[in-house]
């Protein structure tokens, strides 16, 4: 494996350098997530982030997007063991350079008259949006690359943060590139 580290903006990174994205189609059955999480736990594979949703137009299957730490175990091992789970139907391995990755971040920060303008600048320059406001706080949302989310997360550190959530990423192959199944 020669995973090229994805360039990212800013200095915050929650992603290990040698990460890979596994897009896993699974049967939509009770306990499937526990089987995946249990496998990672008992084999000592690290999950960096995980997102689950019903798969495209089919109630029978779900898509699990797992960002794995390829430092914790060889990717071949992770994929091989995952593939042995009977409920796992298909695994698509996306190297970061071949993947279009997106993630959603929402954060509520405390603002006052002194820093409200600075926050609005931050939001505008990051391409984020404001989704809720009250008299002394603002909720900001960004749907973007993990790097952009890292960047705005870092910038928001200068404000008093009430709460910040990230969804973990979803990914598709970049057009014109091939993913290995």
């Amino acid at each position: 494996m020669s995973a090229t580290p994805e360039p990212f903006l800013g200095t915050v990174s929650h992603t290990p350098v040698r990460h890979h994205i596994l897009s896993v189609l699974v049967e939509n059955k009770a306990g499937v997530l526990a089987r995946i999480a249990g496998l990672f736990a008992r084999r000592g594979f690290n999950i960096y982030s995980l997102a689950v949703a019903p798969a495209e137009g089919n109630a029978r299957f779900s898509r699990v997007t797992i960002v794995v730490d390829a430092e914790s175990a060889p990717l071949e091992q992770i994929v091989g063991q995952l593939d042995k789970l009977v409920n796992v139907v298909q695994i698509t391995d996306l190297a970061p350079k071949d993947a279009l990755e997106r993630e959603l971040l929402i954060a509520t920060v405390a603002v006052d008259d002194a820093n409200r303008a600075a926050l609005l600048d931050t939001v505008a320059s990051a391409g984020a949006s404001i989704v809720d406001v009250d008299s002394n706080s603002v909720t900001v949302m960004l749907a973007g690359t993990p790097g952009a989310c890292d960047h705005i997360e870092k910038t928001l550190e200068s404000f008093a943060q009430v709460e910040l959530h990230r969804t973990g990423r979803v990914a598709l192959p970049r057009l014109g590139r091939t993913a290995s199944a």
Partner: protein, 571 residues
């Protein structure tokens, strides 16, 4: 046809050709035990659920057919967790049915409730919690399909009580598609390119070794292995899980590799230039220190499970397939190594200098455990099946018994489950009633599961048990002697407590004892004449006896310790 879920479950097992269930009833599984009365399936009532699981394993290992066990919920289910874990480690096909509390009570901490599908998630190939009676046939058919195809393993079916009590319209899946397993693809087409590359490595090798693992037995490839080995003249080693896959009497067989393997088998692997792994998984008990394992070898790795490739040792060629199909494909290509005369000269010189040895027995005892095994083997009927527990006696049994055919060695390899021997022997005898079955056991192991001899006696299953009674947890004692400055911590068991003869008699078996050579020969002869009830023999063996050769845990296989009698010999 309308059936209850319970009737459908039994009928489904009949559809799968099940002839025997090992089990023990209880509240949640009670409905299923009622239609069992009207079934042709034989039920063996065990005394502890662990016994049911190991019996099912013994049955599977001796027959090659899946073993079936059935127990109730809660403690019934947790008691069979050890056999499930054991079967998982050794890829033994097992179908385990557990009762569960009614669906409406799941998650409420109901009486005898436990999350057995959660508990066994990591130690089953797959498991099911059946949600409706209508789904029972599919779950059973899928369980047998999963347990027996690809890399075999244990599959658990958890059946809530209301599911077995409700009605269903009888049906049974007739195609793989109906099993609804879209993610399960146990076999893929043979990679001809990889076979060609393997053939090329063979053609260039001068010091090849066939490293035969349990997968060779699981894929019923003994015949193909014999043909391939004889055609190519390659030396063969059989791991603990593969004993019987290649005849011990065959001149090309170097024996078992690993921590207590034959000097020649271990050394041939260390010096080989091509290691062909056939359904083996480079277990730490075989490789020793991995960085020093077979340092000059190219590796061809054949396995049905691709997750084994490059897990421990990087392979030069990996072929995901059934062992038999690969051997046939290699035969078709006619791949032959170079002249192996020099290689065989080396091997024969190791064999001559470092055969298996043990100290001369003394006529008035204590007995040498290796000698006891050889004496039993010498008078055993051909095709005798041998089971073992785990420890010194197991290693000696593997070393000193001569296995000639598949299904004759029944043991716990990967998990190392003490107490496996007696129930596994019972299961093997049920599966192969035509064969003599000996359990070579240790005194520590025997005490863990001996109560199943009550099962054996009451069900008419006449196994023979040889307890190599050295009054110690012998393998632990050996490590404490060798690696802990003879500081013996919690390993003494007392040869006279329990009184094994009385215990055997109390369980309806014949109990015998041998303290010296004369008694040893007498009791073996006596045991051989008894074929209607189980026999237990208490052989009093030397406590200080150790298993050699030995590679210390984590050491290189080059640092193999031979028997003290051979320490002066030139390597």
């Amino acid at each position: 046809m309308q059936l209850t879920g319970a009737q459908a479950l039994i009928k489904s097992l009949e559809q799968e050709g099940v002839d025997t269930i090992f089990g023990l009833p209880g509240g949640a599984i009670l409905p299923v035990y009622d239609p069992l009365i009207d079934s042709t399936i034989r039920h063996i009532l065990v005394r502890h659920e662990q016994g049911a699981g190991h019996m099912a394993e013994g049955y599977a290992l001796a027959t090659g057919r899946p073993g079936v066990a059935m127990v109730t919920s809660g403690p019934g289910a947790t008691n069979i967790v050890t056999p499930i874990g054991n079967a998982h480690m050794d890829s033994t096909p097992l179908v385990v049915i557990t009762g569960q509390v009614a669906t409406g009570s799941i998650g409420t901490d109901a009486f005898q409730e436990c999350d057995i599908t959660g508990i066994t998630m990591g130690i089953t190939k797959h498991n099911f919690l059946v949600q409706s009676a209508q789904e029972i046939p599919r779950a059973v058919a899928a369980a047998f399909h999963l347990a027996t195809t690809g890399r075999p393993g244990p599959v658990l079916i958890d059946v809530p009580k209301d599911v077995t009590q409700s009605m269903m319209d009888w049906w049974y899946p007739t195609t793989i598609e109906e099993l609804d397993l879209p993610g399960y693809r146990p076999e893929i087409p043979l990679d001809d390119d990889a076979v060609a590359r393997a053939a090329d490595l063979i053609a260039r090798s001068e010091r090849p070794v066939l490293y035969v693992g349990g997968g060779t037995l699981k894929s019923h490839a003994a015949k193909e292995l014999l043909a391939f080995a004889e055609r190519t003249k390659m030396p063969v080693v059989t791991t603990l899980m593969a004993r019987g896959a290649f005849p011990d009497s065959h001149v090309q067989h170097l024996g078992m590799p690993g921590m207590h393997g034959m000097y020649t088998a271990v050394t041939a692997i260390q010096r080989c230039d091509l290691l062909i792994s056939l359904g083996a998984r480079f277990d730490d008990r075989v490789t020793g220190k991995i960085s020093a394992f077979a340092p000059d070898a190219k590796v061809v790795h054949v396995d049905i499970d691709k997750a084994e490739f490059n897990k421990v040792r990087r392979a030069d060629v990996s072929i995901r397939a059934n062992v038999a199909s690969v051997l046939r494909a290699l035969d078709d290509r006619g791949a032959v190594p170079r002249n192996l005369d020099a290689w065989w000269t080396d091997i024969d010189s190791w064999r001559e200098r470092f055969p298996l040895v043990y100290d001369e027995p003394t006529s008035d005892g204590p007995l040498r455990p290796q000698h006891v095994i050889e004496a039993i083997a010498a008078s055993a009927a051909p095709g005798t099946i041998v089971s073992a527990g785990v420890g010194q006696h197991q290693m000696w049994a593997s070393q000193f018994w001569k296995f000639e055919e598949p299904g004759t060695w029944v043991n716990s390899g990967g998990a190392g489950t003490m107490g496996f021997g007696v129930p596994a022997a019972i299961g093997a005898k049920v599966g192969r009633p035509d064969r003599t079955v000996w359990c070579i056991d240790g005194d520590g192991c025997f005490q863990m599961t001996a109560q199943e001899l009550v099962t054996a006696r009451s069900e008419g299953i006449p196994i023979k048990v040889a307890i190599l009674n050295n009054a110690y947890l012998g393998m632990v004692r050996q490590w404490q002697e060798m690696f802990y400055e003879e500081r013996y911590s919690e390993v003494y068991l007392n040869a006279d407590l329990p009184d094994y003869v009385k215990w055997a008699e109390a369980m309806g078996c014949v109990g015998l004892r041998a303290r010296n050579l004369k008694e040893m020969h007498e009791v073996i002869e006596q045991a051989n004449r008894i074929n209607d009830v189980p026999v237990v023999i208490d052989f009093r063996t030397d406590s200080s006896e150790k298993v050699f050769p030995m590679v210390a845990a984590g050491a290189s296989n080059d640092d193999i310790m031979v028997h003290p009698l051979q320490r002066g010999a030139v390597r």
